[in-house]
């Protein structure tokens, strides 16, 4: 049985959605709570920018849990702490935040080890899953950003990863070479964390872009969280630094330290102790519920979470770890 496509790959269907996307240079600044309330709906296919524990929109992920969004689809594209957070909405007595997951990498936190709770969720069989490679899943956003139903690639061939994906073999019409058609992925909604945005949603960030340039263009709705709001005029002065234009964006939320406990290039390093706390506390289901009540469900917003995690003193230490790293090596 071929693996399912969780979203339509039709370019014309996508054009219909983009046809109704607002074009106005309008003020989109709002709270994370309002953005999630307005733009994330039960059953949506959701994507999270960055790279698992680097430049991730943590505030949006927590808010999705707090608002109890249900039955989301998700692209697990080197999803590490982001997937771990969303999994906290499954098998914790609050229904089922995640229902369908396209997987290229989930439940591991790279060198830090595996998430026990994410593993419980996925091994329970309650998620519908489809396999991909990282490149294939990134290319799905490229195809969507291009407005075409698929793009060709050469990886995955000959493997079970291919057999359990929803990609299809094709022959090159010019050379006859065997290729893989990687289907477009148009998320209903995505959230991306950036360094700077203006009130209309023009964005710039530093460091690797991972898949976010394409993801921003592929998503039907886009929530931006930013370290800092900056004056619109500053974007106009350096248009070559803008990576995401306002046309793609539906909400702009200023969230200082918004990638915490993840790394934000040039701003602060990941909080390895706190990430270790998540992994450790998940080993015991009762302890994990208590932890979630204290750190996520029991706090009003992301700023309160930062306070619980050590506040300004902790963040200052993480900033020094990030910006002084070159000195330490000398």
């Amino acid at each position: 049985m071929p693996a399912p496509l969780f979203t339509s790959v039709s370019s014309d269907a996508a054009r219909q959605a983009f046809a109704t996307k607002p074009r106005a240079l309008a003020d989109k600044v709002m709270s994370v709570a309002e953005a999630v309330r307005r733009f994330v709906h039960d059953g949506d296919y959701f994507c999270s920018g960055g790279f698992g524990s680097n430049r991730i929109p943590t505030a949006v992920l927590h808010e999705i849990l707090r608002q109890g969004k249900q039955n989301l689809g998700f692209a697990g594209h080197t999803a590490t702490h982001d997937f771990e957070v969303l999994c906290a909405g499954n098998r914790t007595g609050r229904g089922k935040t995640l229902a369908k997951v396209d997987i290229s990498y989930v439940l591991g936190l790279e060198a830090r080890g595996l998430s026990p709770h994410a593993r419980r969720v996925i091994q329970s069989g309650e998620l519908e899953t489809v396999e991909w490679s990282n490149y294939a899943l990134a290319l799905r956003f490229t195809a969507a950003a291009m407005g075409v139903p698929f793009v060709p690639a050469r990886s995955m061939q000959g493997t079970d990863t291919m057999a359990k994906s929803a990609a299809k073999p094709i022959a090159c019409p010019f050379t006859g070479e065997k290729l893989v058609a990687i289907p477009a992925l148009y998320p209903d909604v995505a959230a991306i964390h950036v360094h700077e945005a203006d009130r209309f949603g023009n964005c710039r960030f530093v460091g690797t872009s991972v898949a976010d340039i394409d993801l921003a263009r592929a998503a039907k709705r886009l929530i931006i969280t930013c370290e800092r709001l900056v004056p619109h005029d500053r974007m106009r002065q350096n248009p070559h630094h803008t990576q995401i234009p306002f046309l793609c964006v539906d909400a702009v939320c200023e969230v200082p330290f918004g990638s915490y406990p993840g790394n934000m290039p040039g701003e602060y390093f990941s909080d390895e102790e706190h990430l270790r706390t998540w992994l450790t506390v998940e080993q015991d289901e009762a302890a994990f519920l208590k932890f979630l009540d204290e750190f996520v469900f029991g706090v009003p917003d992301f700023a309160a979470y930062l306070d619980k995690c050590g506040g300004l003193r902790r963040l200052q230490a993480l900033r020094q770890r990030e910006v002084l790293v070159g000195d330490a090596a000398q």
Partner: protein, 257 residues
């Protein structure tokens, strides 16, 4: 100078990387090996990371292949598709991978243990970039702890391509020609692949290890090279650089070999 099995593996892995070449690495042992190579015999080795970092001057060992050290003083901080397309175009010479299981043809499993995909006995992270890197890079280097539960005749899930079912299978499947697994470096030995049969073959034994030990720790029959020699011991210079410059925090070196 005494050394641990982990230090030997890192040094053996570093020795496979020639100067002036390009390598796509992940965190952990592969990154330590690439950093060591750069600080010893291969100063012009170009390191790249799948999240978008190209040719960084790594200040410390990265924790994530996307953290900010992976593009510290790099020449380019780009996208995952850009880095993967360097690989797909044939610009990246080596990649370094590992997995939960490996078979005689160097195929890797990092997806699941069990027989039912819908209800895995143990779910693992999945391909990540491994499938792409092993498909595209000219030579795949594999590092694994030697254990008959990991070196298996048949994988539970073929996540990442080695030589698939044998000679010619990669090309038949559509993968780029003249690519595939090159070395397997374990805590007991270094293996390569027989040029005709594409089956795993013992190339050198680590100091003090025997062929019988290696075969016992392997769940399938290993071929043996006509001239099996001994893996060179790490030099004092290698060990000193590894301990003081590559991993002073013993982030990798502190792990059991």
């Amino acid at each position: 100078m005494p050394f641990t099995p982990m230090e030997l593996m890192i040094c053996a892995a570093a020795g496979e990387l020639d100067d002036g070449r390009t390598v796509a690495v992940g965190t952990g042992l592969p990154c330590a090996a690439a950093m060591l190579a750069q600080k010893t015999h291969a100063p012009n080795l170009v390191i790249c990371f799948e999240a978008g970092g190209l040719a960084p001057l790594l200040p410390t060992m990265p924790i994530s292949v996307g953290d900010s050290t992976t593009f510290h003083k790099a020449v380019l901080a780009t996208s995952m598709t850009d880095v993967m397309q360097f690989c797909q175009r044939g610009m990246i010479d080596y990649t370094f991978l590992s997995g939960a299981q490996i078979d005689p043809f160097g195929n890797l499993n990092s997806t699941m243990i069990g027989t039912d995909y819908a209800r895995p006995k143990v779910r693992l992270p999945g391909s990540g970039g491994a499938n792409d890197l092993a498909s595209f890079c000219w030579q795949t280097l594999i590092v694994m702890k030697h254990d008959a539960k990991k070196f298996v005749p048949r994988l539970d899930f073929l996540t990442t391509p080695g030589y698939l079912s044998g000679p010619g299978a990669r090309e038949d499947a559509g993968l780029p020609a003249n690519t595939g697994p090159h070395r397997v470096i374990s805590d007991l030995a270094v293996m390569d692949f027989h040029p005709e049969s594409k089956r795993m073959r013992v190339r050198s034994l680590h100091p003090g290890k025997t062929l019988a030990e290696v075969q016992t720790a392997t769940g399938f029959e290993l071929l043996v090279s006509e001239s099996v020699n001994t893996t060179p011991e790490p030099t004092e210079l290698q060990l000193s650089i590894l301990r003081t410059q590559v991993d002073p925090g013993r982030y990798i070196l502190g792990r059991a070999g």
